[in-house]
């Protein structure tokens, strides 16, 4: 006997799935932002060897499908390192690394967007490389990169749906489960899609708000 009607409990399931998706998204975004920014700083200091390694790893992560990376981590870690991460662990590692690679690219271009002349001025007045980074480069680089970062995070939110294939009970996995039971794909996927849309819209709105604040000092540049 097969129960094909929707029940109130399905809403709880959807909420749980949304919670898992949002939590994974926030967690991996924070890790990715931290790691990607750190990589950008390593490059700024031109740490020999390390910079090349980071660029190489970032290239690999950027230029291969997240799904493939997910499988490699999910199946590779237990096979090669005897480390069973479980679906959530594999998802966290993969998505964080992937986000970090793209954050790195944005950080590098943001740092390079700052005019050489200002940096020279700051150096001449005796500021250390770190002080230049903190006071001259970082505030402007943040304003420069917030737009691309928002776009990246909106995209990474959608990318989290891939982790359902290794069995993480995220929003997409819940959608698939409900779909199999009710056989009402248009209803189920419309609701799931709407939830993703709302979450993405929230990220975009927050990003735009932060951007306005960071760029307050450039508002008059068009004058």
């Amino acid at each position: 006997m097969r129960y094909t009607e929707f029940t109130p409990y399905d809403l709880v399931l959807l909420a749980q799935g949304l919670g898992v998706t949002v939590a994974l998204f926030l967690g991996t975004s924070l890790i990715g932002l931290a790691v990607g920014t750190l990589w950008g700083i390593v490059r700024y200091y031109r740490v020999p060897g390390l910079t090349q390694i980071i660029t190489f790893v970032a290239e690999l992560l950027k230029n291969s499908p997240v799904l493939v990376q997910l499988f490699l981590v999910f199946f590779g870690f237990p096979a090669f390192f005897h480390l069973d991460l479980g679906p959530v662990g594999a998802a966290v590692i993969t998505l964080s690394a992937n986000t970090a690679a793209f954050v790195y690219v944005i950080a590098v271009s943001a740092i390079e967007s700052i005019g050489r002349d200002q940096i020279e001025a700051a150096r001449v007045f005796g500021l250390s490389r770190w002080q230049v980074l903190r006071h001259v480069i970082a505030p402007q680089a943040a304003a420069f990169s917030i737009g691309p970062l928002t776009a990246l995070l909106v995209n990474q939110l959608q990318v989290t749906s891939l982790i359902s294939v290794i069995g993480v009970m995220d929003l997409s996995k819940i959608g698939a489960t409900l779909n199999l039971r009710t056989l009402k794909p248009f209803v189920v996927w419309s609701v799931v899609g709407l939830l993703y849309y709302l979450a993405a819209k929230l990220v975009a709105t927050l990003g735009a708000r932060i951007e306005r604040r960071l760029r307050a000092h450039t508002a008059f540049r068009g004058l």
Partner: protein
């Protein structure tokens, strides 16, 4: 004493400075003249450590700019004003001025800001402390640039064609301030194309040509018929600049 000894600088196969010697004593105002590409700006960039020397030695109060440990001390003693201002666009005029005093000299914020405001007032920008560079005219920006250098209380002020990017009106705004500083006893090394102005404020004038320091004379002798003008290149340069 700011000492430049036998300094050589090359970019690839081009020799930009070829055995330059120059000494600036405290209180002196020395102008550097020369056509574009003669190495004037490069000399300034060597003194403040933005370019590495390929030969010779530069010391600022006995601190060797080629030694990383001494460069920091040397830089504290010289302040640079740039041709294109090089202000920090995300900071107000006041923040531009106080950044280095607070971070490098470890002055308190309140003290640095008081001094910054006083400097701005002294160049006629007392009411523009909270303005961002983009809200200021070229002449105002350069005046902020001068205040930023002065806030470090430098023993030597390095001025790299500070009026070249300004129109005549703004140029005179900036030159008035420099004249005041010169008469106030500020030591200045002044790269410029403003020949008449250089003549008025300098104690000495030097002439650079293709990386070689051709003439180094007291101002009066430099412009005298038997002095600098005896050099054909100098005479040619001066007559050409005056015509323009």
């Amino acid at each position: 004493m700011l000492n430049v000894e036998q300094v050589r600088k090359t970019f690839g196969t081009v020799t930009v400075l070829d055995g330059v010697n120059l000494a600036v004593k405290p209180g002196e105002v020395v102008s550097i003249l020369g056509s574009s590409g003669s190495g004037k700006s490069t000399l300034i960039r060597c003194i403040n450590g933005l370019e590495r020397l390929d030969g010779g030695r530069i010391t600022v109060d006995d601190f060797d700019v080629s030694k990383p440990r001494e460069l920091a001390e040397a830089r504290k003693r010289s302040g640079t004003v740039f041709q294109l201002f090089n202000l920090y666009p995300h900071m107000t005029a006041l923040q531009n001025i106080t950044l280095a005093p607070i971070e490098v000299l470890k002055r308190s914020r309140a003290e640095a800001e008081d001094e910054g405001r006083a400097l701005l007032a002294s160049v006629g920008l007392g009411d523009r402390a909270e303005a961002y560079p983009a809200q200021l005219s070229g002449g105002q920006r350069q005046r902020v640039g001068i205040c930023r250098a002065l806030a470090m209380r430098p023993r030597y002020l390095l001025l790299d064609e500070v009026t070249s990017a300004l129109d005549p009106e703004m140029t005179s705004e900036v030159l008035d301030i420099l004249a005041k500083l010169a008469s106030g006893g500020t030591t200045m090394l002044f790269v410029t194309h403003e020949i008449e102005f250089a003549r008025q404020i300098s104690d000495r004038v030097v002439f650079l040509e293709k990386g070689v320091l051709l003439v180094d004379l007291p101002t009066r002798d430099f412009f005298a018929a038997g002095g600098g003008l005896a050099q054909p290149r100098v005479a040619q340069f001066l007559s050409k600049m005056r015509k323009d």
